[in-house]
């Protein structure tokens, strides 16, 4: 390849052909233009005339120059000139192309693949073997160099991953190098510790070029629940100017569809890497949130999944002591409030009100009995999955509840009176708690020494008692009993919720026990100890693009790995489910920061932008052809062939050769407006399907002619309307044949159409499929019509009622056929309060014109006439078919009358009343 600056030639030897140009010059110069032989009777008069000038037997210099240029262009063209040739790096050894392939690459991954493709093209041209890999998906057995064009075929397999390169894998990768090679490294631009080692290893094998574009990467950190609000933070790199980045909370709406539930904005101050924002949401909404994401950013770091940590349980607190004057510390609910407030939403109120809110947990503190209907309602709530947590107290101890037989709202039968130990009036020491059983929900909790119980209610010994006890005192008396009822459970703590009977509410154990009972949820990230020995199943995993995919095919993950949070192929970011809770594993951690990648000075860094090679061969050959065409004209002119008997034919041929430009659609907007408004003009929507458009135009022509002949409406020739560009307001009526190929209108076109419909225009939608489909059935056209009409301002529809004004605006009609005769023609529905008066054949219907008429009768074909006024399409068969066509025309006339006169005919029913009032 020979190159001059940005220009290079693929086959430079052909340029030697330029040396032949002077010879060609001489040759061409020596050959005069060939004479024309002409029959001419006047030759008798010419005999004896001598030429005054005689130099025209040589080709003029400018024509020679033209030809030389043309030949030179051909030679240059075939020499394969290329603009911006991709030859910046030299080298002939193997080429390794490395992309980071992290989530940060996902945003512009196609551009990176393009860049790699360009590199491979170049390697193919240079005959270099190549290998391509991403650092997140390294080949397990080292790199193998293959011919570059073979490697290029595997490019579509290259995908970014949602994690960062794993240091150990990089180590084995580097250790497996056995040859020298050059490296092109497409960096994602983020700082990473593993870079330096890899760079050293690569540099030891050959030249390394880094491709990196400066751009801002934003990552959103996991959401936390702080002080009743959801705290969100995001970090960015490189730190730059102030920026506002919106974030949206996504979750399921009540209908089960995923949608954006709330939005907030991260405001990055200038020079700040971290921005924070907070979202205050009602608990119902907050509990629906499944993830937060930065809209429009395709990156796993732009999404953070939420798990149970963000969900807050609704806990209803009901105390047996009404509004009692006393110290807060004696309030049975005081400790509960203190324990639950940070992690749950508390509800107060009466049982009926509380049940309406459907809380997760109802806590009854020393409530002996509930009202009859209340207890039934609570029981059914428990059976549907509620959790009833009861605390004992003097009232419960004193009541008769659950003495004789078990109360369904108590897990055990109770013995009368309870007991007290270790008090002033009793023997013995206050009792401590026994260690929790392994199968108890409290298993593993440490029991502080100072937790003692002075008094408690006692459970009646019972064969089923043992399995219902989940915590007991050191002497074996039950402290917490539980019974599963339906889908829910009833739990009784045999002491009070305040410190009156025991010191349990004062201890941290109380809070942990509530947590274990899932009364409250933990806000803290689960610790390694918490998760030790557990296995978590990935439910959904996140791709590098930030999209969620089903993770059920992936193996389970040990709890320790989740606790460590080291994201990699084994622990992909996503949502993991355990026994009774979910854990979200996100790309960004609470303390994650992003930094720009820093490269040592000896590494060449290039931008990602590709200056595509521009082969100039085509241009040069076109230039040569153009020059030769000019030469043809000039030669003809010189030889006198441009004048004379066949000059017009020559000119036509020349025009045909030279006219490459399409005739532009030269209708200006003003012409269009004048055409459309100087007369009534029917119009159809240009669907882009030429036969359909022609038929629609012919149909409207036929309808216009019929209107002209039969009525006082005298329309001008119909027009086709492009809803994207043309003004619609000029047309009272649009015919819209639906073709499946028509693209959906743009947003602006929809706005225009809606304005048109609101402004009194009418659109006749014609799916043209009434022969094969009924309205509403899913024919392709019907579906497309639905897709089109989804964003249109179409009112409620009904099939044309018998007394619709369309049945009598000009002709009396009871059917509305086109080429097909289906009765499914829909118009705006009548108001529900329309009433039929005595003696009046029609209902007193609404004002105005129906904005749409929808059907599939293919009216245009029934109306269509060709240039000679002949019907273009047959309708039906024989006489009855002609009758149907006539009715079709009558429908058209009625329709246009309806458009232009509105409900005039409908108002006619009032004429007798008006005359009556006028005293006639």
């Amino acid at each position: 390849m020979l190159s001059f600056g940005p220009l290079a030639f693929l086959s430079p030897w052909l340029l030697l052909g330029l040396l032949a140009l002077p010879i060609l010059w001489l040759l061409l110069r020596a050959v005069p233009p060939a004479p024309i032989r002409r029959r001419f009777p006047g030759v008798a008069l010419l005999l004896g005339l001598q030429d005054e000038e005689s130099q025209t037997d040589r080709t003029p210099w400018w024509l020679l120059l033209l030809r030389m240029l043309a030949v030179a262009a051909v030679i240059l063209g075939f020499a394969g000139p290329v603009l911006n040739p991709q030859t910046q790096t030299d080298g002939d050894g193997p080429l390794l192309i490395v992309a980071d392939g992290t989530w940060a690459d996902a945003r512009d991954w196609p551009a990176r693949v393009d860049r790699i493709a360009v590199m491979l093209d170049e390697a193919t041209r240079q005959g270099r073997p190549a290998a391509v890999t991403t650092l997140t998906d390294l080949p397990p057995d080292g790199i193998t160099f293959q011919p570059a064009d073979v490697v290029a075929q595997s490019l579509p397999n290259l995908t970014p991953k949602a994690w960062e390169p794993q240091t150990e894998e990089l180590g084995t990768f580097v250790a497996a190098f056995d040859t020298n090679f050059d490296t092109r490294w497409l960096s994602d631009g983020l700082a990473r510790e593993s870079r330096a080692d890899l760079l050293n290893a690569l540099q030891s094998r050959g030249a390394v070029t880094v491709y990196q574009t400066p751009r801002q990467t934003v990552g959103i950190r996991p959401a936390r629940f702080v002080d009743g609000e959801i705290a969100l933070s995001a970090t960015r790199t490189p730190v730059g100017q102030a920026a506002d980045i919106p974030v949206s909370a996504v979750g399921l709406d009540p209908a089960g569809a995923e949608r954006q539930l709330a939005t907030a904005t991260f405001r990055f101050e200038s020079g700040e890497a971290v921005a924070e924002t907070a979202l205050a949401l009602p608990p119902e909404l907050r509990n629906r949130i499944t993830r937060f994401e930065l809209p429009g950013v395709r990156s796993a770091a732009a999404v953070t999944l939420t798990d149970d940590a963000l969900k807050r349980r609704e806990v209803a607190l009901i105390s047996g002591l009404g509004d009692q004057e006393g110290l807060d510390l004696l309030d049975p609910l005081f400790y509960l409030r203190e324990a639950l407030e940070p992690t749950a939403d508390l509800i107060d109120g009466s049982i009926e009100d509380i049940l309406l809110a459907n809380p997760d947990v109802i806590i009854l503190a020393d409530v002996a009995t509930l009202g009859g209907s209340d207890s039934e309602a609570v029981l059914s709530w428990v059976e549907k999955g509620g959790m009833l947590l009861r605390f004992a107290g003097p009232r419960l101890a004193a009541s008769e509840t659950g003495r004789i037989e078990q109360d369904p709202l108590l897990p055990v039968r109770l013995r009368a009176g309870g007991r007290s130990v270790g008090g002033a009036m009793s023997w013995g020491e206050p009792k401590a708690l026994a260690p929790f059983d392994v199968d108890s929900p409290f298993a593993g909790l440490d029991i502080p020494d100072d937790v003692t119980v002075n008094a408690q209610v006692m459970a009646q010994p019972d064969p089923t008692l043992a399995e219902r006890v989940i915590a007991q005192l050191a002497d074996g008396t039950p402290l917490v009993t539980r019974q599963l009822t339906g889908e829910g459970q009833v739990v009784l703590v045999h002491v009070t919720a305040n410190a009156e009977w025991s010191s349990l509410p004062l201890s941290g154990l109380f809070v942990q026990m509530l947590e274990r009972l899932a009364v409250s949820t933990s806000t803290a990230t689960p610790s390694v100890e918490d998760l030790a020995g557990t296995t978590w199943l990935p439910r959904e995993v996140m791709t590098a693009n930030g999209r969620l995919e089903d993770g059920s095919t992936l193996p389970g993950v040990a709890g320790e790995a989740i606790a460590e949070g080291a994201i990699g192929p084994e622990l992909q970011p996503g949502l993991y489910t355990g026994e009774d809770r979910q854990i979200a594993v996100n790309v960004m951690q609470l303390d994650s920061t992003l930094g720009p990648a820093v490269w040592p000075g000896n590494v060449a860094i290039e931008g990602m932008a590709v200056t595509r090679e521009t082969p100039l061969k085509g241009w040069l050959l076109s230039l040569a052809i153009g020059l030769l065409l000019i030469d043809v004209i000039a030669t003809l002119a010189l030889g006198g062939r441009l004048r004379g008997p066949r000059a017009d034919a020559v000119a036509a041929v020349m025009l045909g050769l030279l006219l490459i430009a399409q005739p532009a659609f030269a209708q200006t907007e003003d012409d269009f407006a004048i055409n459309a408004t100087s007369e009534v003009v029917l119009a159809h929507v240009i669907t882009g399907d030429t036969p359909t458009d022609e038929v629609a135009l012919a149909g409207l022509t036929g309808l216009s002619q019929t209107l002209f002949r039969r009525t006082s409406i005298e329309p001008a020739a119909p027009l086709g309307v492009d809803i994207e560009t043309d003004e619609l307001a000029f047309f009272p009526f649009l015919y819209w044949p639906i073709t499946t190929a028509q693209p959906l209108p743009s947003r602006e076109a929809y706005a225009k159409l809606n304005r048109y419909l609101r402004g009194g225009g009418m659109i006749l939608f014609d799916t043209r499929d009434a022969d094969t489909a009924r309205f509403g059935s899913s024919s392709p056209e019907g579906q497309h019509l639905r897709a089109i009409a989804r964003s249109l301002d179409v009112p409620a529809l009904e099939p044309i009622p018998e007394d619709h004004v369309l049945t009598r605006t000009f002709y009396l009609l009871n059917q509305f056929p086109g080429r097909y005769n289906s009765r499914d023609v829909w118009v705006e529905s009548a108001p529900p309060d329309a009433i039929q008066l005595e003696g009046v054949p029609f209902r007193n219907l609404n004002d105005g014109v129906t904005p749409v008429v929808i059907g599939g009768n293919d009216w245009a074909r029934a109306w269509a006439v060709d240039d000679f006024g002949q019907r273009m399409f047959p309708v039906g068969r024989g006489q009855s078919g002609e009758r149907q066509r006539e009715i079709a025309f009558r429908f058209g006339v009625n329709l246009i009358m309806h458009v232009l006169t509105g409900n005039y005919k409908s108002d006619q029913v009032h004429v007798p009343a008006l005359l009556d009032r006028l005293g006639q």
Binding site: P33, I36, F40, P41, L45, L47, L49, D51, E52, P645
Partner: protein
């Protein structure tokens, strides 16, 4: 059996152009209203010329009694003298007449025959005797003469340029020469002078193609006559234009002078203009009393 058949088909091929030519000629002739065609003197004829007092020798039958009743003397109604004249046509049939510059235009020869035949139709309708110069078709009247004339006019000659035949011209008859007069002028001059010697008056109609008037040529060109017998090569045809036009004008002037000398009329007609104008001119020229 085959000979009569081939003969007949050849004859039909030959005759095929005739009806259209004749029909077109009659169509063209129909555009001319026959005007006053009398001799402007009393004689035998159909139309009224004058009343004159009856003279001895006038038969009683010739007395116009209606006129005589209005006065003392008797009057005789004289009719205008109507006498048929012999008119001889020469239409150039040479190869040069077959030239046309574009397909849209008629050839000069076709236009010449059309005009000749149309004049003949008019004249026959006016009661004159029409014939062709040379001895092939002596002047006669009637439809049959027209058909015969059409047959003879359809023949083509393979000479490059035609020359008028002055034979068979009756004394004091009239003649019409139609040609492009691009060839040698001498035979034309001779024929005209001989005709003038015999008291024949008439008209010369020169028919030219527009290209022959415009000479729109340029570049290196070899001009050939229609048969290819005459050639002239030029390297720059555009330069010849002025000189060619000069020569053409000289030719026209020469013809015009010749006509003035012999008492004939001269006119140049171009094939891209309407034929009626030429027909009117020819008709008027032949009618002219000189």
């Amino acid at each position: 059996m085959s000979i009569p058949l081939t003969l007949r088909s050849a004859a039909e091929d030959l005759a095929a152009p005739l009806p259209p030519l004749l029909a077109e000629a009659e169509h063209l002739a129909a555009t001319v209203l026959l005007g006053d065609h009398g001799r402007r003197r009393a004689g035998t004829g159909d139309t009224f010329w004058q009343y004159r007092p009856a003279q001895p020798g006038d038969s009683a039958r010739s007395i116009d009694w209606r006129r005589s009743a209005r006065s003392e003397s008797n009057f005789v109604q004289d009719k205008e003298w109507q006498i048929a004249q012999s008119i001889l046509l020469w239409v150039d049939d040479a190869a040069s007449m077959q030239f046309t510059s574009t397909d849209n235009l008629q050839t000069k020869g076709y236009r010449a025959r059309l005009l000749g035949l149309a004049v003949a139709v008019l004249l026959v309708r006016g009661g004159e005797r029409v014939g062709l110069t040379g001895l092939r078709l002596p002047p006669k009247r009637g439809q049959q003469q027209l058909e015969r004339m059409a047959v003879i006019l359809s023949e083509d000659s393979d000479r490059d340029y035609g020359a008028p035949e002055a034979q068979g011209m009756l004394p004091h008859s009239r003649a019409l020469f139609i040609s492009d007069f691009l060839g040698d002028i001498t035979p034309t001059r001779d024929a005209l002078l001989r005709a003038a010697d015999r008291g024949v008056r008439g008209a010369i109609l020169q028919i030219l193609d527009p290209q022959e008037e415009a000479f729109p040529f340029d570049g290196r060109t070899i001009f050939q006559s229609m048969t290819g017998a005459v050639e002239h090569e030029t390297l720059k045809a555009g330069d010849l234009k002025a000189r060619y036009l000069d020569r053409l004008a000289a030719r026209k002037a020469e013809l015009s002078d010749l006509a003035r000398l012999t008492g004939w009329q001269f006119h140049t007609h171009h094939t891209h203009t309407a034929a009626n104008a030429a027909l009117l001119w020819v008709y008027g020229a032949l009618e002219r009393q000189t």
